[in-house]
Symmetry: C2
């Protein structure tokens, strides 16, 4: 169905107070699909539509809205209604929602929700952004080790409506220390009177609450888990992270890395809806930094002004040569940044990869040198061709080594390797390129240097 | 445990033929974790170790190896053993494994597996790489609509050991057309005598077998599904794609886009283990193409040789100005490529985003112009400062517009938008930058042009 058509329909029905029809239209959608239509309504209209819906459907719908739409909507929602909605939302989604709101509003809302939920919200909300704790939910099923499979199944059945997943039950002792886990698959296949402690998998794959989200994603993906239990230092179970949240994290992390490698700040919001001011703030800082780095290329050129005056034809090859170094470096950097992000490559692999990079870059540089040598002869004669070709080999080599090493250096310095962006590598390769090019030219063509810039 | 230590242990035990101890060591690992250790053994050693393991554990272990290790291993494995292994592997993983092997070997192996499995392998293997069909599995549970919840549960219990997931059962008619689905959660909560057709969700979210994998990932992620049913044009159920495969696809797609935006060919293998020759082949083509594009920057410079001879100081600002255009363009391109890949931005959004881009780029260009104007005055006086600053505004604007438009143009031409890489945008922005810079300089400083390059 057309997106604007549905929102227009809803708007028309709102004007006529046809609550039942609004509910019918909404119920004909999956909440995740209705969320797309919802974004085309004004915040006040959204609140009115929400009032027509069943509480659970309403909570699920709000959970599927993107953060900006969530914020716009709950800002115009009365406190009492927000509290009711929060109560019905899943434990991890409501924490994400409340994090968008100012502290006073959160306090106001929390005052009216039940004590157990309030404590749960505060506990989950306390974990640092980017950690396992920040994406986990407290809605899992835990069972003691000394009950039977049949009793465990009964408990799962009873708790099913309120849990994020019942496809895995976590076995804990009376201090909530994680002893093991059992999948619903194993439970329904097992004999009813078998004890959980005999059936459970004892060596559960876990993550610590303060481990980074990338690590959660890596483990869940490596072991093909529906959910991964989160424990604290004492092996006490504090929550689980489900596969759907990991999918979101994986996508968000890749997006952040993309933005960084493109030398812009990470944009958490939708690019389509981002404001001009936001984009300006995210993009301008790195560009200004790069301007200052590029001044060194200029300084390098100033050093060789007399070489340029003697052979203006050399300028012809300048963009070609410095870009080639930058391009080869960008390739290396991008390959490395991604390999470091996925865990394919580790810090300790640097030296091994360095020697291979020298080989690859030398081969690439040689191929490109051959390609430009003809152009060199045609434009400037044999002497220029020699200068241009030998420069090409060296700039590609140097650019590649800068590109491959920078992500490692950043990782070592505990910076995000993705900040070793294409433009940064290009700018550094440019400075090296100018020095190498005019240095070789001055030496080979036997020209004097200017004393200083 | 240390990775090399485990592989050394296994190697020592192999020499002494201690099969039972080898099995014990291996069984102490999750197959996914053992896979990491396995890569440190020689192919022949791997086959020897595999012979000590239980058939199911062996099949699962092979499924967790990366494609290169899989290939090395099965290449030295006898046909009969490979056939046994294939029989025990999951339906989608064995197809992926067999696709690595030459056709004759596959025929040899298929000859010895049971007819039903052979047909299943051929059917799944027929779907085009990159489609839903290529990642789906045939191991799902299907049930008729006219049985009770209890009967459905019994069927799930019975089929559990051989199915990829039993957490969702697919309801089909006698022609295997998909009527709906029911989750195991709903099944165990339901009354035992209720009919499936009354319990099932009728509006199942599905994908077509020839839809691209990105679309599968997007739907599964949007609707938080454990698995998504794959149908053909007649709504006949042909398979399911499970969340773990979608996680792998999401990661692989992001990696491909990363490599493309870095202007190298997509590398499916591990970067750590990639050979020098492979890296050369993946990286050199784009670099050579870019060399030829960069020649146009040279040609543009040649056109302005007299301007340069008159004002050598202009060369000082050349890398700075052309890089700034390239950097702003790379930012735009990277933001757009990612937004198009995640579905945040669509082809039809181009015009709306274009007008915003003009605003953002003008603001960024202005900021950068202010930054370089001081340098211009210092290095070349007021006249040069005017030329450099006004050039900066225009190159940033032009670079940004090239960067934001190229991914859309590529999408429109049914090319991968990620091929609108940073280096390509940089090279195009360079040509524009040279023309704008020297064009403004010649006009403002009132200098003659060379007639032709």
């Amino acid at each position: 169905m057309d997106v604007t058509k549905t929102s227009d329909n809803l708007r028309a029905l709102l004007a006529e107070d046809k609550d039942a029809e609004i509910r019918d239209i909404c119920n004909s959608f999956h909440p995740a699909a209705l969320a797309d239509h919802f974004e085309h309504l004004e915040p006040e209209e959204r609140v009115q539509v929400l009032q027509c819906l069943d509480p659970l459907f309403r909570a699920e719908l709000i959970g599927h809205l993107d953060p900006n739409t969530q914020l716009d909507t709950v800002e115009v929602m009365p406190d009492a209604e927000l509290a009711r909605t929060v109560t019905n939302m899943s434990a991890d989604e409501r924490v994400d929602l409340l994090k968008l709101l100012p502290d006073e509003r959160v306090e106001e809302v929390l005052r009216t929700v039940a004590k157990a939920e309030r404590e749960d919200i505060l506990r989950l909300g306390a974990y640092k952004e980017g950690t396992a704790g920040a994406i986990m939910t407290s809605e899992y099923v835990s069972i003691p080790p000394d009950i039977t499979a049949r009793e465990a199944l009964d408990k799962l059945r009873l708790e099913a409506p309120n849990k994020e997943t019942i496809y895995c039950a976590y076995v804990v002792d009376n201090k909530r220390r994680l002893l093991g886990l059992i999948s619903l698959k194993d439970l329904i296949v097992a004999r009813g009177h078998s004890l959980i402690e005999d059936l459970m998998t004892k060596e559960a794959i876990t993550v610590l609450a303060d481990e980074p989200q990338e690590e959660v994603a890596r483990k869940l993906s490596q072991y093909d888990l529906i959910a991964i239990p989160v424990v604290n230092g004492n092996n006490t179970l504090v929550g689980i992270v489900t596969f759907d949240d990991v999918l979101d994290v994986t996508e968000a992390e890749a997006t952040t890395d993309f933005h960084r490698i493109g030398a812009s700040g990470s944009l958490k919001e939708s690019l389509r809806d981002a404001s001009l001011g936001l984009l300006y703030r995210k993009r301008v800082p790195w560009l200004l930094i790069l301007v200052f780095i590029n001044i060194f290329s200029g300084a390098a050129i100033a050093r060789y002004e007399e070489v340029i005056e003697a052979y203006v034809a050399l300028v012809f090859f300048l963009p070609l040569l410095i870009d080639s170094g930058g391009n080869a470096g960008t390739q290396s950097a991008t390959l490395m940044v991604r390999a470091l992000a996925t865990g394919d490559v580790q810090l300790r692999d640097w030296f091994k990869l360095l020697s291979r990079e020298v080989g690859v870059a030398a081969a690439i540089g040689l191929s490109m040198a051959v390609a430009v040598s003809f152009l060199g002869i045609y434009r400037g004669g044999a002497e220029i061709a020699v200068v241009v070709s030998s420069t090409m080999i060296i700039v590609v080599l140097v650019g590649s080594l800068i590109g491959m090493s920078l992500p490692f250096a950043f990782t070592r310095l505990k910076l995000d390797p993705a900040a070793a962006s294409g433009p940064l590598v290009t700018s550094l390769a440019d400075i090296a390129g100018v020095l190498i090019y005019f240095g070789i030219a001055a030496w080979y063509l036997d020209l004097p240097l200017v004393a200083a810039a």
